[in-house]
């Protein structure tokens, strides 16, 4: 995605001169076009070098366990990948994780934002508490969930289950992906809440009163007035969260190690395990290329819908 943006800027800057460019404005454009070249150049190198290296390794035989096997691999890295069940599982997990966390954080975030906009005693403290998970590092958050909350023996949930006579569940073993989704949602809910709360606060109360006069109850007010007002903020939340959620890694490493089996392995974790657990740089790079393509596809749709929303 970023390579594409830089390229289009570059093309625009250089191609800003029409064939018979002697009109004053165009020559002006030409001069300024060259002035942005240094920064465009730096950004380009910054991105192109890792991108090119990834592409290069993706077509190489390169396993650090046996450095003697080298050379051009053709498409075999990709062939291995598409025939590898782990890859498809990780792709599915990546999208499931992304989709679930988006749905959970946006829905809950919207409800909480509307709730926190009402006045009730202790609202300020409640706001701070609701937002605080955002300030906890992913590794720490994952550890808290793994050991303090969901641990079948020491965790709060486990202790409560035992107290009430239920068999405690080892969530990370039995529902690994769902548990990771819970942790990541918990981390990102405050972000959604924060953005959506400011949006709710910017809603003109006259509009709500006009809707009341028009006969809208609380539910109709929410769906016809508040939600459309929030649509822009919601698209911003979705876009920003997507960028970060495609690469969730620390939470998985700390809690499930991608397992059991590949049950909670996403693309980022798969690349890590190929490169640094199996030392197969070629396969990892092929996964990386797929990750870039995936990010670009998602970004393409997102940027298009968000841009359309921001226009109105």
């Amino acid at each position: 995605m970023q390579a594409g943006t830089a390229n289009s800027t570059l093309i625009h800057g250089a191609g800003g001169t029409p064939p018979g460019g002697h009109a004053a404005p165009t020559s002006h454009k030409q001069t300024t076009g060259w002035l942005v070249m240094p920064s465009v150049g730096v950004l380009l190198v910054w991105m192109i070098v890792p991108l090119a290296m990834t592409l290069w390794f993706a077509f190489q035989r390169y396993n650090m366990i046996d450095p003697t096997i080298r050379g051009f691999a053709g498409l075999s890295n990709f062939q291995d990948m598409v025939t590898d069940p782990d890859f498809w599982a990780s792709l599915k997990n990546t999208l499931l994780l992304l989709g679930s966390v988006l749905v959970i954080t946006v829905c809950l975030g919207t409800l909480l934002a509307v709730l926190f906009n009402q006045s009730f005693p202790g609202r300020n403290i409640a706001r701070v508490l609701a937002i605080s998970p955002f300030f906890i590092m992913p590794t720490v958050a994952a550890l808290v969930w793994k050991n303090l909350l969901l641990h079948p023996i020491y965790g709060v949930v486990g202790v409560l289950a035992q107290k009430f006579g239920f068999t405690p569940i080892d969530f990370f073993a039995q529902f690994p992906l769902a548990s990771v989704i819970a942790v990541v949602s918990w981390e990102w809910l405050p972000f959604a809440l924060l953005i959506l709360l400011t949006a709710v606060q910017s809603l003109d109360t006259d509009q709500l009163e006009a809707a009341r006069m028009d006969g809208a109850g609380p539910v109709a007010q929410f769906f016809f007035i508040t939600l459309p007002h929030l649509s822009r903020a919601i698209s911003v939340v979705i876009m920003i969260e997507t960028i970060f959620l495609l690469g969730v890694f620390a939470e998985i490493l700390v809690t499930t190690n991608g397992g059991p089996g590949n049950a909670s392995t996403n693309l980022a974790y798969l690349i890590y395990s190929r490169a640094l657990l199996q030392f197969d740089v070629g396969a990892a790079s092929a996964g990386g290329v797929v990750a870039i393509v995936l990010a670009n596809i998602v970004a393409f749709f997102l940027v298009r819908t968000v841009a359309r929303r921001l226009e109105t």
Partner: protein, 366 residues
């Protein structure tokens, strides 16, 4: 058919009482205007009638039925907000049809009503536009259209024209008057613009600090203000107030002496002993330069408005007695002038600010 009746309506925000007991009867098809200085509680009173603000105590009746406990949608009212409060994500047609949609009116009938309202307000070309693509005046008309579509018993307006420029304000004012005529609905209108109040109202309610100062027709308020506040508030430029003392009270009126010693007879009655201190009210338009006038003074400032000229005259111990004269006057700054007053247009107020009753009612005021 809609009559409203306010019985000792009060509103308190915590310990602060902002509406301090309002009694008011509003007849069917009447155009009532609330005026008063900023913060006097006009909007609050209107919002209580609308049902947007709970009534602390007292009773509000519509058509003889208590509605205190009814929600805003169930009172049969429609309100036009100062900010218009249009729904930005809906088209003009959707904005106007929103109430009908919520009331589950079939789409065909909804469409017909929206078109009818759009026709009345000349909004037909804009039905598919969003509010942000309209001019201020068009938005204003959409806000009115949203009210019309519901065919309410009572229309409420909270300073609907204050965001428009002067020319458009005049035009929309006439449109609202026409609409009142055409729809035959009861209307309650809040403004602090005197011209709107005088031209639109059947009945003006002057409010101050949460209390009604006077209720009456525009001309009644102008010619027979009940107290100094109303006298000063209605009429532009403001009424001039001079301290006077009573010389004698006869059947022909009360003769008072001005600070300069000059005497004037005001056709008012009242139980006032000679020597009582009163306040004399003179409207700028009832004063005129006259070589035989009782008030002697000097012109300190001349404001030429074209058709009219305002003189600020230093007289009777005051520097800013305003006199409104015709625009062609050659009077200039530092000219000495003598002023005569139209006796029928003089007002006397007692120490508490209450007007002494006039001997005769003005012919235009029943």
């Amino acid at each position: 058919m809609a009559t409203l009746s306010l019985r000792n309506i009060r509103k308190a925000y915590g310990p602060a009482e902002v509406i301090k007991g309002v009694d008011l009867e509003i007849d069917d098809r009447e155009f009532v205007v609330f005026v008063g200085p900023s913060g006097c509680g006009k909007s609050t009173l209107l919002r209580m009638i609308a049902g947007l603000e709970p009534i602390t105590s007292g009773e509000l009746q519509i058509d003889g039925v208590r509605v205190n406990e009814r929600g805003p949608a169930d009172r049969g009212l429609a309100m036009v907000f100062q900010s218009y409060a249009l729904y930005p994500h809906m088209t003009v047609a959707q904005n106007m049809g929103f109430a009908l949609k919520l009331a589950k009116v079939p789409a065909a009938e909804r469409d017909r009503k929206v078109r009818e309202a759009a026709r009345i307000l000349q909004l037909e070309p804009y039905l598919e536009r969003r509010p942000k693509d309209l001019s201020g005046g068009q938005r204003q008309r959409v806000a009115i259209g949203r009210a019309i579509v519901r065919a309410p018993k009572v229309f409420l307006f909270d300073e609907p024209l204050s965001n428009l420029d002067a020319a458009l304000r005049g035009q929309t004012r006439i449109e609202i008057a026409r609409l009142h005529e055409e729809l035959g609905a009861t209307m309650i209108y809040v403004t602090h613009d005197q011209i709107e109040a005088m031209t639109l109202a059947d009945k003006i309610v002057v409010l101050q600090a949460g209390r009604i100062e006077q209720v009456g027709s525009p001309l009644e308020l102008y010619h027979h203000p009940a107290n100094m506040f109303v006298a000063g508030f209605i009429g532009s430029p403001r009424m001039n107030m001079l301290p006077v003392s009573v010389l004698e009270s006869t059947a022909a009126g009360i003769t008072v002496s001005l600070p300069s010693g000059a005497a004037l007879t005001v056709p008012s009655t009242g139980d006032v002993a000679p020597g009582t201190a009163l306040t004399l009210g003179l409207r700028p338009e009832s004063l005129r330069p006259d070589p035989d006038g009782q008030l002697a003074g000097t012109v300190k400032l001349v404001e030429r408005l074209g058709g009219l000229t305002l003189l600020h005259v230093e007289t009777e111990g005051r520097e800013d007695v305003i006199v409104q004269i015709e625009g062609l006057s050659m009077l200039n700054i530092n000219h000495p002038v003598r002023l005569a007053a139209d006796a029928a247009a003089l007002h006397l107020f007692d120490a508490a600010g209450m007007a002494l009753p006039a001997l005769t009612r003005h012919s235009l005021v029943a």
